[in-house]
């Protein structure tokens, strides 16, 4: 015999609203346990204190240090935060929550879009916190609202591209900790081995070369220009180029790994 049930909504608008419901679900823990929200806020504070006062305190003028370090910290915390996308996906897969979603008549894409939307929202909180803490230690935006929006947009896009990479790792990894290990192994040299915190001058040749190619160097440099003036437009284009290349690489990989998981 054939059963029929009240029609379940389909199509792109249903898929989007299901994605939003799942994004809501991913953000609830921030409200349920204030500890998690504090964790989200503490990282930018900690990084700015470490880099401005601890590492930056020894050399040069405080205002110069702040102007250099705050955009660097903004980039670092944003890109490191993308590890969360894959970790959360791997967690959902490991403990069966993902399979629960798969037995529901919802759009196949909804769990993935929900995850990425939630992570972008959390990232926005991190970025705004970094700017506020930066302001408190003396960082001033000298360009204007468009510069700020441009800077946030640029770092969000790069983070989005890396989130797809993170999602891919989370979907293929056997365990949460192996996913975290792989992502950290890629992101630490990428963020710290850049000119985000220290200019390349006076470094050994191979390191200067690496810092020059490293997209994070260009992203940090573009952010300094967008927030503090003296923008080199080439940095924006190079960053966009890398973002596009990472998207072109990771989106198909993640979508394929995802399709294999959800069919």
């Amino acid at each position: 015999m054939t059963f029929t049930q009240p029609a379940v909504r389909r199509g792109p608008s249903a898929a989007l609203s299901q994605g939003l419901v799942l994004a809501w679900r991913s953000l609830i823990p921030l409200r349920n346990s204030p500890g998690q929200l504090v964790g989200l806020l503490v990282q930018p504070v900690f990084m700015i204190v470490v880099f401005v006062y601890l590492f930056g305190g020894a050399t040069g003028d405080r205002a110069d240090v702040v102007a250099y370090m705050v955009p660097g910290v903004l980039v670092q915390v944003s890109l490191i935060a993308t590890i969360g996308t894959g970790m959360n996906l791997a967690t959902d897969i490991g403990n069966g929550v993902f399979d629960r979603f798969r037995t529901l008549p919802i759009a196949r894409s909804a769990p993935l879009t929900g995850r990425i939307l939630a992570d972008l929202a959390a990232l926005l909180i991190t970025i705004v916190t970094s700017l506020v803490v930066g302001y408190a230690v003396g960082f001033r935006v000298t360009t204007g609202p468009l510069g700020v929006l441009g800077a946030i947009g640029l770092v969000l896009l790069m983070a989005l591209a890396l989130s797809w990479g993170s999602a891919w790792l989370g979907l293929v990894a056997k365990t949460v900790s192996s996913m975290q290990g792989m992502a950290t192994a890629v992101l630490l040299p990428l963020t710290f081995g850049s000119s985000a915190f220290v200019p390349a001058t006076g470094m050994p040749g191979w390191l200067v070369w690496w810092m020059g190619v490293n997209p994070v160097s260009h992203l940090a440099s573009a952010l300094r220009g967008l927030l503090g003036g003296g923008l080199r437009v080439a940095d924006v284009w190079i960053t966009h180029g890398w973002t596009a290349a990472l998207m072109a690489l990771f989106v198909p990989l993640a979508v394929r790994a995802y399709a294999r998981r959800v069919r």
């Binding site: 015999m1 379940v8 609830i28 823990p29 069966g96 399979d99 629960r100 037995t103 529901l104």
Partner: protein, 303 residues
């Protein structure tokens, strides 16, 4: 045709391991089908295929008349799954978990809230409603899991070892829920390792072993397959167990021996033989076969 679940020739391989090797089954609408089998027999894989979580390599299955491979979304509109796999979000409260599913199924905010309250009340979780599910006890978690699978009022419910690890009271409560659901016409497929549970709940049984159906039928039919009476004996002295094994031609399990009896004149003769051999018995009993005996007969006692 009134089968809510039908499957034929299901084959599922993981690498070079064959989890399902031609499983077929049928469950009538509103009935309870119990799937029995030792660990690794293929029970969970069967449920995963029927609940659209795994694609079979061969064979086909229909749930509520819809093919699980070709129309998975149609099937998902009809089913609920509770088990070792589908689970709740530990970081969300009980109420949030249920509201989340209601919202995903297209209920309005208010309807999702009402449905969540209704289910929380039904499963005695009202007091825990505002606590994170990660802090629930095993029994509460299982009840929340079951409530989550009922949000969409499924017509077909899969319960994968729903009472494993539950205390007898919690198990009894779950049995009551299954009874209520089938009274409403819901079809339930339940895997279990507890023969008592299968005997109590299931209208029909399927014994799976090594990815194949070892037997199918009603509990009464399966018991009939195991033949007539059973004589259970337990030697008083552990040293005598081996001697008793040799004498009766069966192997002992936990110091007790079970002999199939074909003729009621056999037991006195067997007991006399044991007595003549100087084997003192701590207990002996004559009884009808249980599902345990069926299970052991069919699966070769590899538990």
């Amino acid at each position: 045709m009134t089968y809510a679940i039908e499957a034929e020739g299901l084959v599922k391989r993981y690498g070079d391991k064959t989890a399902l090797d031609g499983v077929g089954l049928r469950a009538e609408t509103g009935s309870v089908l119990g799937v029995l089998g030792p660990n690794g027999a293929g029970k969970t894989t069967t449920v995963r295929v029927l609940a659209t979580l795994a694609v079979p390599d061969a064979g086909h299955a229909r749930v509520g008349g819809h093919d699980v491979t070709r129309e998975p979304t149609r099937v998902r509109e009809l089913i609920g799954l509770t088990g070792q796999y589908a689970s709740v979000d530990e970081k969300l409260t009980g109420a949030q978990n249920l509201r989340l599913i209601g919202r995903l199924l297209g209920l309005s905010r208010a309807d999702a809230r009402a449905r969540a309250s209704e289910l929380l009340a039904r499963f005695g979780l009202e007091e825990a409603a505002a606590r994170a599910a990660g802090g629930y006890s095993g029994g509460m978690r299982r009840r929340l899991d079951l409530a989550a699978s009922l949000v969409g009022r499924p017509r077909v419910l899969f319960l994968d070892e729903p009472t494993t690890g539950l205390d007898p009271r919690a198990r009894g409560e779950l049995w009551d829920v299954v009874g209520e659901l089938t009274a409403d016409g819901v079809t339930v497929l339940l895997t279990t390792q507890y023969l008592e549970e299968a005997d109590r709940l299931a209208d029909d049984l399927l014994v799976i072993d090594q990815g194949r159906v070892a037997a199918a039928g009603t509990p009464a039919e399966l018991k009939a397959m195991a033949g007539g009476h059973r004589l259970d004996v337990r030697p008083l002295r552990p040293d005598d167990v081996e001697k008793a094994e040799a004498l009766l031609g069966v192997s002992a399990c936990d110091g007790a021996l079970t002999v199939p009896v074909h003729d009621l004149s056999e037991p006195p003769a067997l007991l006399r033989a044991l007595d003549d051999a100087g084997i003192v018995l701590a207990e002996h009993a004559l009884r009808l076969p249980s599902l345990d005996d069926v299970f052991h007969t069919l699966t070769g006692d590899r538990r």
